[in-house]
């Protein structure tokens, strides 16, 4: 740099005309514009923070933390945590338990506490509520008083179950979400076979999402191709047809599916009429996995078509022409030149459909029957019905991890820069 107006400071830094280092000067002049940029994104940042980041952190936290017992039974919780789980329960523990039961009954929190312990061992709910009613009249020695109220208090398993519930920070829910049981000894034991369900469901969810993605691709790719090669007017009309499922309310859409797919429905009537199947052997197309696949493919199809379409539109027709002029047959030109150019769209559409499928829940709930249910239906179930939010959170956390791993894999294999959303 030989500019006469720039001078060099003692340490070789370029100085501005007023003697301050040029870099400092540049930073100062950038500061205002950076502050303005920050101000522009601040509302969105706050919104995302409040509506997305914080809830997700809370979700992950809920998955490992449940202080229902600890906060409502403050005397017995620390004693139980300190207890080794093998020796006989002490009188001190029993006394703390009785006092806690009395307070919890007064505070009307006994129901919550009892449900919490009951998750660890079936039957303890009634044990707790019953004992709480009688606790006010109990006298020392409390251990005997408890056993007198219900002999289950003599069973160390009851205390061990309570010890697990008394631990606020626990891997138990994540263990349960993976079909393992976290014992009072701090070990992970595989859940008994007839109660194993989650791992199987995670695999099924992934499998179904993959299948939906594939169906969407097989059905959507030719449509996107047609769309991108039609004159604008016709393309618009076809696009409306593609987007129609978007604009239809869930109710109307599902009604239509039921009318089409049920065993006395339009599709089956046609099959019988053509003679594909007999009147007695109608296909089960809804209220099962088939129904879930059909309905999800239908509703997610636009998410596949749109990115592919926008990528296809951007491919100059000259590329295929060039390939042909260079001697490629139609198929070679498509496969070696056109198709690779659409991969960013396929990647975007595929990832979009897959991630949406993995969390899909209303459609399987409505048309899935019993074998068309996915992991998200179980999360909803634990949120809304069994009110076991911690397990729901753990399942959700694992689902989130799966999506992140997939995203990472996608980045490694295809490259995230290769994604084009249109």
């Amino acid at each position: 740099m030989t500019d006469a107006t720039a001078t060099h400071g003692p340490d070789g830094l370029l100085l501005a005309s007023d003697g301050t280092p040029l870099k400092t000067k540049l930073r100062q002049s950038m500061k205002a514009s950076r502050r303005r940029a920050f101000g522009l994104v601040l509302p969105l940042l706050l919104f995302v923070l409040a509506s997305f980041v914080i809830p997700i952190i809370m979700l992950l936290w809920t998955g490992v933390s449940n202080d229902t017992y600890a906060s409502n039974m403050p005397r017995s919780a620390p004693l139980l945590r300190a207890w080794d789980g093998a020796s006989q329960p002490t009188e001190e523990m029993a006394e703390a338990m009785v006092l806690d039961l009395i307070d919890a009954r007064k505070a009307k929190t006994i129901g919550k506490v009892a449900s919490r312990v009951n998750r660890e061992q079936s039957g303890t709910r009634s044990l707790y509520t019953k004992s709480a009613r009688r606790a006010a009249k109990m006298e020392a020695p409390f251990i005997d008083a408890l056993v007198k109220a219900d002999k289950d208090w003599a069973d160390p398993e009851t205390w061990r179950a309570t010890k697990i519930a008394a631990t606020s920070l626990t891997p138990a829910y994540y263990a349960a979400a993976l079909d393992y049981k976290y014992t009072a000894d701090g070990e992970f034991v595989e859940q008994s076979e007839e109660r194993q369900i989650h791992v199987k469901l995670f695999w099924k969810t992934i499998w179904v999402s993959g299948a939906v993605m594939l169906f969407c691709l097989l059905l959507g790719y030719p449509v996107a191709y047609l769309l991108s090669h039609l004159p604008a007017k016709k393309a618009n009309l076809l696009m409306i047809l593609v987007l129609l499922p978007f604009w239809t309310s869930l109710l109307v859409r599902t009604t239509a599916w039921i009318a089409m797919l049920q065993s006395q429905g339009v599709l089956n009537d046609i099959f019988v009429w053509i003679g594909i199947t007999g009147d007695e052997q109608r296909f089960s197309l809804i209220y099962n996995l088939t129904g879930t696949l059909i309905a999800m493919t239908h509703i997610l199809l636009p998410f596949m078509i749109l990115p592919i379409y926008s990528v296809m539109r951007a491919i100059p027709p000259s590329h295929v022409r060039a390939a042909k002029s260079l001697g490629a047959t139609n198929w070679t030109a498509f496969w070696r030149v056109y198709f690779p150019a659409t991969i960013p769209g396929i990647g975007a559409g595929g990832l979009l459909v897959f991630i949406l499928s993995i969390g899909y829940y209303i459609t399987p709930a409505l048309v899935g029957g019993q074998d068309g249910q996915l992991i998200s239906n179980f999360i909803a179930y634990h949120m809304q019905k069994s009110l076991n939010w911690s397990l729901a959170a753990a399942l959700g956390g694992i689902l989130l991890a799966i999506v992140l791993v997939l995203y990472w894999l996608y980045d490694r294999i295809v490259g995230i820069d290769n994604m084009k959303l249109g």
Binding site: K108, R125, S126, R195, T255, S263
Partner: protein, 406 residues
């Protein structure tokens, strides 16, 4: 097929998504389980009188002036809510001048819990299942109710004596109806229909798909009864691991033929569409299909599992006083009796039984024999044991779900 199916499907959907009936899991615990167990005997006694009684004087409830007040009443929608609107809301509005807002929900305590915890309770009075009533009370989600404020029965008996014994023992809830899970079939399609609960599980003798609620509740009990367990031993058997295995083994025998339903409106629709040959259902829904839509459905009462629905007032309800008035009126003798003329759910007051006459639009259709508690229907009946379910539902739901998925 065509338009009719479409409309049918639409109505099912409306129910599924918006306002299903009795779709909750009982969880909870109350202070007087034992007393409630006596209720069966008491109901039998009360029902013996049902249909045969004469009309007594007017209700002993006096309407206060509530002009300008408003009550938000939340229930399960469909034919059930309609019966409440006709029997409770309309007379209450004209009697007090208050405004009544009717809302539908899907059962469960999740929404009430959210409202109470947020300190913004917009629901004033909610129709819940017994298990939820108990749990709401245990967890402090519902206001305690002064039972002595309930009006006397039309025949002058005090409320405490008038309600079926034991049903008033949840301190936060007042019962309104007795409902039941039964099974039904289309007698046009099946001339020699099933007679017993065992027939439901006999797919050789009675071929065709079966409809079952997607929940272990009632299904496990019915499976055991079909397997030869007497009604009064069902929960004892179900308390053992072998008993649970036995119930699941029985369900396993028809698993491939089952169509699972979730909302109360689905079973009549499944029957009408021919999707299933026999289905379990809530008795009122089947009755409604028969009475209002002239469907050729037949209810089989053998092995029915019955339960209560109750009013609760969520803790901190904005219009608590007006809600209490609504509660008092709607659980008065005449209102309960009127409600029973719209749908076949039995009134919980003994004094209402003689006032229940016939279906509102069909004078020939006597309501008495339609009730779950009518003597001829009540021979082999089982009361849902909410305490058993409160203790075991986590485990049984898990196992049921795993069983379904496998």
């Amino acid at each position: 097929m065509t338009l009719k199916t479409l409309i049918g499907a639409a109505s099912v959907l409306a129910m599924t998504t918006g306002f299903a009936f009795a779709d909750a899991h009982s969880e909870g615990k109350m202070d007087a389980k034992k007393a409630l167990m006596d209720a069966k005997a008491a109901i039998e006694k009360a029902m013996a009188a049902l249909g045969g009684g004469t009309m007594m004087g007017g209700a002993s409830y006096e309407f206060p002036d509530l002009d300008g007040d408003q009550v938000t009443v939340v229930s399960w929608g469909g034919a059930y809510t309609k019966s409440q609107v006709e029997a409770y809301h309309k007379p209450f509005i004209s009697g007090t001048g208050a405004k009544v807002v009717s809302e539908d929900y899907n059962g469960g305590l999740a929404e009430i819990k959210a409202q109470v915890e947020a300190g913004n309770v917009t629901w004033d009075i909610v129709d819940v299942e017994l298990s939820d009533a108990v749990r709401a009370c245990d967890e402090g989600l519902a206001e305690e109710i002064d039972m002595s404020a309930l009006p006397d029965g039309a025949d002058g008996t005090s409320a405490a004596d008038d309600f079926i014994a034991g049903t008033l023992d949840v301190p936060c809830a007042v019962p309104t109806i007795v409902w039941s899970t039964i099974f039904a079939y289309d007698k046009d399609k099946m001339k020699n229909g099933p007679k017993t609960i065992a027939d439901f599980f006999d797919t050789k003798g009675f071929p065709g798909k079966r409809g079952l609620r997607k929940s272990p509740k009632a299904n496990l009990e019915m499976a055991l009864m079909a397997d030869g367990v007497a009604a009064d031993e069902v929960y004892d058997v179900l308390s053992t691991d072998e008993g649970v295995d036995r119930a699941f083994a029985k369900l396993d025998s028809i698993k491939d033929d089952v169509v699972w339903w979730e909302a109360g409106a689905q079973p009549p629709q499944l029957l009408a569409d021919g999707e299933v040959a026999i289905t379990t259902a809530y008795n009122g829904r089947i009755f409604n299909a028969v009475a209002a839509e002239d469907k050729p459905f037949e209810i089989v009462w053998d092995g029915q599992v019955w339960d209560l629905d109750l009013w609760i007032i969520p803790k901190g309800a904005k219009n608590k006083d007006a809600a209490m008035e609504f509660l008092k009126f709607s659980t008065s003798t005449q209102a309960l009796a009127d409600q029973a003329s719209w749908i076949s759910y039995g009134p919980t007051r003994k004094s209402s039984a003689p006032l229940v006459a016939s279906y509102n639009s069909k004078p020939d259709l006597k309501m008495g024999p339609q009730m779950p508690t009518a003597p001829q229907n009540f021979k082999n009946a089982l009361q849902n044991d909410f305490e058993f379910w409160a203790d075991n539902q986590d485990e049984l739901n898990e196992r049921f779900n795993a069983w379904l998925a496998n």
